[in-house]
Amino acid sequence: MSNKLVEFRNVSFRYGEEQPWVLKNCSFEIYKEEWVAIIGHNGSGKSTIAKLMNGLLFPQEGEIYIDGKLVQEETIWDIRKDVGMVFQNPDNQFVGTTVQDDVAFGMENRGFSREDMLTRIEVVLDAVRMQDYRLTEPHRLSGGQKQRIAIASVLAISPKVLILDEATAMLDPKGRKEIMATVTGVQEKNNVALLTITHDLQEIVQADRVIVMNEGEVWQETTPRTLFSQQQELREIGLDVPFIATLANELKQAGIPISQEPLNHKELLEELWTLYSRT
């Protein structure tokens, strides 16, 4: 078996005959246990990619393969076992009256045994650090906590790839941090590939690879570090440049020879310190 988990082959998509193409001839791959971030401005086609991956939409042109299976009407039920998705609005994804009922819902639909469900609930609530909230009613949780439960519910069915489609967009800064910490932990401990869809460059720092979407096309496949150095281009396609990248660039302009594009405060401070103590 190959290491390829997701493959888009020349995929084009539009919502109707008369409508403009939302995705144009997109090709890319995601490998097992990899963390890939998809970034792009509103309307760049990034959420459409997520919906195509689990058969909520089908492309007019091209093919999509998940773990070797072609995504089509006949396979979507198998595909959806492999592709777990968490959406933007934490309030739209609850069905259970308690946290544990909610986590159990997806497993019930797939016919897991009761014993198996009980063990899995333990494991996944532990993974998102929500074990104390088993019997809490979902509406009593904060936005960040709700999204953590949504992640747990998806993990419970052991997907091969977990998609977070702007899962932090409606959260406050604290909720965002919670989710990013949870996601990092989950990816380290579970054999799952991660696809995070976002327009916030801060959230791609830990990804292995980044796919940048612009106007429905794959604009670039790169690493976070390389992307951070392309400030002019990022602004042109409507994305923000993180503080640390802007500062590093201004320092270079001011005659400080920064050799490596910093991804965080620590990296920049270490480099400055080296320069400082050398002189």
């Binding site: 904060s142 800064p173 500062l247 400080i256």
Partner: protein, 290 residues
């Protein structure tokens, strides 16, 4: 218009077992023409506070002054409609409030309700449309055929067309992409200055508060937790973290810089460019001393 809150409390479902005090003994004075940021995490009372600004809620204790309009527990201004035409509120996700067949009709709805004549409405539409970044060919289209970002611009145009003197913005950029966020905030700031508005921005974004506000009020559990200029408030990291708020990223960086280099650079709302030149000096001076 000056905005004054004097010992204002609001209790939901008062005199019932479900009574819940959302704001508690709030005092502040916002002078006319100020750009104020109100910051607090979810549940801190921000939404309850702003509903007092146009009389959607009356305080259950204390008094509120909006210019000459006076709100107390047992008295609301006689001319509530006039208060509401002076205070424009852009609620969260305002695009959910669109309802008319065409964009022109939707923008006209507010001013029409406040008794503005047709020719004046037309003039205002021509003025606010470019301000929110839309063009005239949109006017006869249905607002429901637009993208989310465009729908929000239509909704905001509707508020601006009422020519408010006070503009209240509740998380106006939530859900927009970075360019959309910046364009929208710049647009509000431009209106604020040109129309000499009093602007109240409710936000989670410390970066927006630093960039645009003259004055910051931090709420926690319905009470005023801190108040002052952004450069005074946002350096108090420990106090802010206690109420689960972050300082702007540049302040965190300055702290870490001091820890590593033993050199303190004060926070003055400087740009990245200004900061880079300060740091460059520190590093180059190091070479001079050696």
């Amino acid at each position: 218009m000056d905005i004054i809150f004097k010992n204002v409390s609001y209790t939901y479902q008062q005199n019932s077992p479900f009574a819940h005090k959302a704001i508690d003994q709030l005092n502040f004075h916002i002078p006319s023409g100020t750009f104020v940021a109100i910051v607090g995490h979810t549940g801190s009372g921000k939404s309850t506070l702003i509903q007092h600004l146009n009389g959607l809620l009356q305080p259950t204790e204390g008094e509120v002054w909006i210019g000459d309009y006076h709100l107390t527990p047992d008295k609301k201004p006689k001319d509530m409609k006039k208060l509401r035409s002076s205070v424009g509120v852009v609620f969260q996700y305002p695009e959910h409030q669109l309802f008319e067949e065409t964009i022109a009709k939707d923008i006209s709805f507010g001013p029409k309700n406040f008794g503005v004549g047709d020719s004046e409405i037309q003039r205002r539409i021509n003025e606010v449309l470019p301000a929110v970044g839309l063009t005239e060919d949109f006017l006869e289209r249905s607002p429901f055929d637009l993208s989310g970002g465009q729908m929000r611009r239509v909704a905001i145009a509707g508020v601006l067309a009422t020519k408010p003197k006070v503009l209240v913005l509740d998380e106006p950029t939530a859900g927009l992409d970075p360019r959309g966020q910046r364009e929208m905030m710049d647009m509000f700031y431009d209106r604020h200055q040109k129309e000499r508005l009093t602007t109240i921005l409710v936000t989670h974004s410390m970066e927006d508060a630093v960039t645009y506000a003259d004055h910051v009020i931090i709420l926690n559990k319905g009470t005023k937790y801190m108040e002052g200029k952004p450069e005074e408030v946002f350096v108090q990291k420990a106090a802010l973290q206690k109420v689960q708020l972050d300082v702007p990223e540049i302040v965190t960086f300055l702290d870490r810089f001091e820890a590593r280099f033993g050199v303190s650079i004060p926070f003055t709302r400087q740009t990245e460019k200004e900061l880079a030149s300060t740091i460059a000096n520190v590093i180059k001076e190091g070479s001079v001393h050696e």
